[in-house]
Amino acid sequence: MVELLRYRDDEPHDEPAVTLDSFLGQSNATAVRIESGEDARALLPHLGRLSLVEVSFPKFRDGRGYSSARILREAGYTGELRAQGDVLVDQIPLMRRCGFDSFAPEAEVDEAVLTASLARYDHVYQTAADAYVPVWKKRHG
């Protein structure tokens, strides 16, 4: 089992994530897993009771999960947002920018490479779901 990478201070959520269908069908689940083709917006009415959303990446080339993450963060979701599956070390910095704060990659991630990658860029061009201030804002105070 590959170690969970987590960028949150709270305790990991231990309830297993249920499928989107079961989540929408039962009122008490607090963790849900959405597949890459599923509509993250279906969760928006229920964000208040969610502690964990796991977004599936069946193949690293499948980038739908990046939009799912943005949509959830834009709607105000503050719980754990986990990327699970074929998640490669070079993708994690972009995923962080989209609002993911935990990662369950299928294959081992080299932590030294990851640490260097996450620290590499001092500046970014866009506003996203993270704390980076875009350069246009720095340019204009």
């Binding site: 690293f60 980038g63 943005r70 995923m95 875009p134 340019r139 204009h140």
Partner: protein, 543 residues
Amino acid sequence: MYKYDEYDHSIVASRVEEFRDQVQRRLAGQITEDQFKPLRLMNGLYLQLHAYMLRVAVPYGTLDSRQMRMLAHIARKYDRDYGHFTTRQNIQYNWIKLEDAPDILADLASVEMHAIQTSGNCIRNISSDQYAGAAADELTDPRPWAELLRQWSTFHPEFSYLPRKFKIAVIAADEDRAAMRLHDIGIQIVEQDGVLGAKVFVGGGMGRTPMIAPEIKGFVPIEDLLSYLEACLRVYNRYGRRDNIYKARIKILVHEIGADSYRAQVEDEFVEVKKLGIDPPKAEFDRIAAHFADPAFETGLSDEIDRSDPDFAVWLDQNTVAHKQPGYAIVNISLKPAGGIPGDASSAQIDLMADIAEQYGFDELRVTHAQNIVLPHVKKADLYTIWQQLTEAGLAEANLDLISDIIACPGLDYCSLANARSIPVAQKIATRFADLGRQRELGELKLKISGCINACGHHHAGHIGILGVDRKGTENYQLLLGGSGAEDTSLGQITGPGFSEDGIVDAIEKATDVYLAQRGEGERFLDTYRRIGMAPFKEAIYG
């Protein structure tokens, strides 16, 4: 033109360091080729038939002489002393060693250049009108808009793993010199009530299913542009097809759900995205636009040109274009010498073009989507001297927009996707029609060749298009007539059964004979084709 500030420098420097690290991990076997592939592709590095190919970004085709000389330096030091200018206004090098790629990127960064997103399933280099800032017919300079989009799209966190590649073009004149509506997103800057904004077309493209982009929004003000484009991209990222690489471009999504349904989804998404504050203030656009202010044109210059040298007069008529400033002209340098490889230039030629631009052209050059080079701001009084220098370097072919000004993809000589060679066909056509008088008699005739169905040579948009296919192990060439990548955008139609390499040259000659026999007053080949239709051409070619 745009100059990097500390932030741009920092981001590009970080990218060099990142790619160096990725290459080292690949060379050390820490990542597989399959995992490395999207990383190198996001940086323009392809594995071709014989070697790695590196594609360097020339944002919206604009360069200064220092950058141009760096392109020559790279050709000399890391390649076989030449580079190939592409239909996306970039340059690519065909013989690159993987271990050299990080050093090349460092060299490029030293002159404010990079290879970021010149391939991969991300937003590619933004293309534009090669006459931007110089054309007599433009509403405004489209390049500040393109630079705004360059920055926004660079390492976009949400849109780096799209279903397929994504190409955006920006123009600001009614004459379309950038094949704008054959892009995933085409933008025309327009004016409404005295304010400039973007008219947005989505879902065009060539490839195996060519489509002309429908208009999705008539006017998007600059303050909303990035939000609107994020909405366009998000709908695509979520709903574009990922089950079939050939159906994954946005044109298929827009076609399958319909432009109205796509537009409605974008509008809904825009309402959400607009709340996020991702659009820079107008001051940022103004900061960028200030970089594109006119150079210090002299006033009161004469428009008189001494035409006593007949060869110069031919070049002057064919390869120069009206400039917005009296006394100045736009010069096109053809990279299509008879029998040459379209778009190729040696390091010495690249250096010479840089020298001329520095001395006579306000230090500016442009790469065109037709694979030529432009000097956008040249004094008419200097044209003869420039022509003489170009002539000595084999760069004064007077064939702009004539039948030998061919767009061709690299084809089977280089490309691992190709089914047929493109370059030898281009060379044979250019040789058959080598007589310049004959070419000028045929007039504007845009001929475009692709070596496979992916259409990198824009064959769908050629007045005459050629598509190389593989027929039972033999190269075979289909002929198309009637395409256009200009403001009268249209897609070429296949004439019928394909031809051998020599057969296609004969067929083209027959088609041009039909035109010469049937043309009306002032008609180009394309106009005659549109008036008389395919039948007379078919009869001449196959009859």
